[in-house]
């Protein structure tokens, strides 16, 4: 099967400081890739650079569109980049408040991307919004409540609904479960696993939590100091880490 996303020699520097350095990987349709590493290891920089939210210092990102043609993300103009981000990609931020529009209702949040795509039928928009609230386990009767009236976990689920409503093919997630308590985390991870399977999404997820990687991802990349130090099947990496840093990371997980 051919890849959906090809990243080659991607670097992003902040002046003389390294954000991420010489990263290459392929992502296949329906695959979930986890990027793990300690705080400051360049995970989020890498994610933002791949998702074209940051300009790369060098290297390339290529994406295979629905129609089968390849796009060089670095060469896109602003209009095409936004169209891609709206129609084929999704981005889930760590803090749902960054990804949601807090001054409009939950329904408007879910329907926003559909309206951006040109849907102009109110009852249809509402039907879809209701349906998606249900899919992320939010009571559809709360469709007109503002997101500020929701708990942290509900806000994160609302953000997921808002991102997935246009049925993107590729979703970027930046620590979607960080900052939530353990039981809420488990519920969201469960939900994500179900939706990713149902929709056949490909996803790149950044996390510092190895348990999340084990639960969701087939493949994992370990980063340290802006470089990828180890990459492979998640189970392989977690059960038989080769690189000293990965060994440290795995051994530092609290076991119960």
């Amino acid at each position: 099967m051919s890849a959906l996303l090809q990243v080659r020699g991607l670097s992003r520097h902040y002046g003389h400081r390294i954000g991420c350095e010489d990263v290459s990987f392929d992502l296949h349709p329906g695959e979930l890739l986890c990027i793990v590493g300690e705080s400051g290891s360049g995970k989020s920089t890498l994610l933002n650079t791949v998702a074209a939210q940051l300009a790369p210092t060098s290297g390339s990102v290529r994406y295979c569109q629905k129609n089968g043609s390849w796009l060089d993300i670095g060469m896109l103009n602003e209009a095409d980049r936004r169209r891609l981000a709206r129609e084929e990609w999704g981005f889930v931020t760590q803090n749902p408040r960054d990804g949601l529009r807090l001054n409009v209702s939950a329904g408007a949040n879910v329907a926003e991307r559909l309206m951006a795509l040109g849907m102009r039928n109110y009852s249809q928009l509402r039907g879809i919004a209701r349906n998606w609230l249900e899919r992320v386990e939010i009571d559809p009767s709360r469709i007109d409540d503002p997101p500020t009236a929701f708990s942290g976990g509900m806000q994160q689920r609302l953000q997921i609904a808002r991102t997935l409503v246009t049925q993107p093919r590729l979703v970027f997630m930046d620590e979607p479960t960080a900052g939530l308590d353990v039981s809420v985390q488990a519920r969201i991870l469960d939900l994500l696993r179900r939706l990713v399977n149902e929709l056949g999404l490909a996803a790149v997820m950044v996390t510092h939590d190895l348990a999340v990687a084990r639960l969701l991802a087939a493949r994992t990349m370990v980063m340290q100091g802006g470089r990828v130090v180890e990459t492979g099947l998640t189970d392989q990496i977690l059960d038989d880490p080769q690189h000293p840093y990965t060994q440290l990371l795995v051994s530092s997980v609290l076991t119960t």
Binding site: V104, E112, N121, S123, D144
Partner: protein
Amino acid sequence: MTYNFAFLDEDTKRMLRRALLKAVAIPGYQVPFGSREMPLPYGWGTGGIQVTAALLGPDDVLKVIDQGADDTTNAVNIRRFFARVAGVATTEHTVDATLIQTRHRIPETSLREDQILVFQVPEPEPLRTLEPREAETRTLHALADYGLMHVKLYEDIAQYGHIATSYDYPVLVDGRYLTSPSPIPKFDNPKMDQSPALMLFGAGREKRLYAIPPYTSVESLAFEDHPFEIQRWEHHCELCGSRESYLDEVVVDDRGSRMFVCSDTDFCSGRRAEAQA
């Protein structure tokens, strides 16, 4: 003390005219301009006054309206201001005027090709309440990416059951630029579509000008199943009996009695004079 004709110096007027030409060339596009300090506070119509000052010639006849009325403080003061610093003739009759500066209404009497309507605009950016970043709203305009505006209309229907926005109702000009019609009631929006008169908009505090040239399409946004509608009244004007004009509800005593009268005072008095004759 004497002022230059129409208060502003000639270089400033030239700058304003250049910006206005650009605005007319790109219908609905907000053109930045070097807004000047005017002898009245922001929010009282400094943008409209600067546009008027740049356009006035010695032969012009000026009419100024405020919420439809010729006799309110704002209208009287601006009219007297230009009578004093430009010595132009002023009128309260829409048909006699060549230049009409308006705050929040379009006259009921149809305008002609030889008339110009100047609007006072507090907030030229229709997307501002949803997107506070200027760089972002400019990008959205550049890409004609206007889904956001429908988020506001959606929110209206969700909260009130219908599109409750009743003034400053967003329009799409010439099928391209999303534009604020200034805080006119949406009752006046249909008058903008294919209007024979040139319409110019000035926002003094925000330093923006824009224009809707004559015979340009102006479409009010809406949903397929919630189409655009204007206000309707069960009443008619108690002074002139009009059922077609925009009505103000006026409390007339301290026992809660109310009456409905035309907001356009010139239109109303014209009809009454006609009825008497």
